[in-house]
Amino acid sequence: MTMDQSAFAAALLDPSLPVPAGVTCARGEPDATRFSVYRNNVVASLSRALGERFPVVRRLVGDEFFNGMARAFLTVSLPRSPVIFAYGDTFPDFVAGFAPAAALPYLADTARLEANWTRAYHAADATPLPVERLLAIAPERLAGIRLSPHPAVALARSDFAIGTIWQAHQAEVVGSMIVAASESVLVTRPAFDVRVHVVPPADGVFADSVLRGETLGEAAATAFARHPDFDFGHALLGLASLGAFADSPLQGDPA
């Protein structure tokens, strides 16, 4: 009987299937315990990879729940490449739709923040835009400028306090916190250390627009419309000093 890798892979992922045809052992018979070593390796190694990428989500739900959720995810979403640190880019969306986790509405956005953290960790090295470059621009020209996002930057905006949750779970002991508070969380990596910052809601709206390629003028208008107390200069210099933008030629800057 010829072994075919499709049947082998299917049996790895579905423990209700029998040992694939053609598989045997030194006794000349199939042995389910032996085949289950491969099953366990696949599920345990991929669950571990997800647990390493989403340690706060794992702590929030506990190991047993997390492993069940990871197993449900990997059954429908195996890694698309052997670069395993990138596995789980779609895990936050899966968590958002995972009915057993519905009691924790902040879980998916916390996962988004953790996914952003890993992407930032592995992102290309780049010098952040120095604040001085912005200060040197004539004020009347600022509105027309588009800034290049730094390769590591990512923004997660949530109806929940995901930055506070994330920060609290970096410690051994987690105290109580109010989670039903909207937060915008910026992840940057100006050099080699990943940084996580909660930014004011208005700055979050502004950052979201700038990072999506709007001009500073357009982004400021969007932020003003939503938050009349928006402080343009403070927000722009704040984001730049956190390392949100790359030190590349400023588009729209005639200088």
Partner: protein, 295 residues
Amino acid sequence: MNAITPSTSLLPARAGLGLKPEHVGEILDTEPDVGFFEVHAENYMGDGGAPHRALGEIVARYPLSLHGVGLSIGAERPLDTAHLGRLRALIDRYRPRSFSEHLAWSTHESGFLNDLLPLPYTASTLRRVADHVDQVQQAVGRQMLLENPSTYILFEDSTIHEIDFLERVAARTGCGLLLDVNNVMVSAVNHRADPFAYIDRFPVERVGEIHLAGYDETMDGAGDRLLIDAHGSPVSDDVSALYRHTIDRAGPLPTLIEWDNDVPAFPVLLAEAARAEAVLDSAKSWRDGRLARRA
């Protein structure tokens, strides 16, 4: 004319260690006398950041072995050319002394299964593996070493002994072999074979590197011993004895201690490396003594 050094011997015939991120700071601070470091290629396939900075610092001080765990050379499907491109970029950037991969498969249409899965040894799988090894060596521009697997099952349609399979792939492609002595023990116990006989038959002249690791032990459905390649403990006494037997037969060879799970403090790894190094030293002094008598 200088003799051409075969690329299978470019790593020093010393003990090396797997590089773990949590040990990098200590290694750079103390610069321990380790023969070489080995990394899993896939962990360094990001665009930048701390992993590349660390690897650059290590390569400036130590010989590097690059060990792939995701190429899926034994797969029925074609190799992933994007992954070959990433490997090529890493090899061009860090110039490792050795590049190795596994006689196994891990990728299927449904995705990457993240385990080293076994294949039957037949004329058709031999042709496929040799074609894939050819393609890899073309793509990365250098010789690779192919590693013998640890396996838990056998296939009814296997017709070729694993050693003959590896030797024929090497003969056809010019690749070298990576002899994982722990894998030899694991597979031999699991399939009721003699691990020492395996070493005695193995084409050691093609071996560019040896791997050592710890295994876990359990039982199969009939109560037979079942060893699991676990990489989470010291090298066991029986594998150490098999390693000494290997070096007695093959002479000193670059030897890696693999410890990838439940990674201990760095000094524990250094002590493991020292044990292997002692075996290599005694083989070297025996060889040197013989050469001196001849002169």
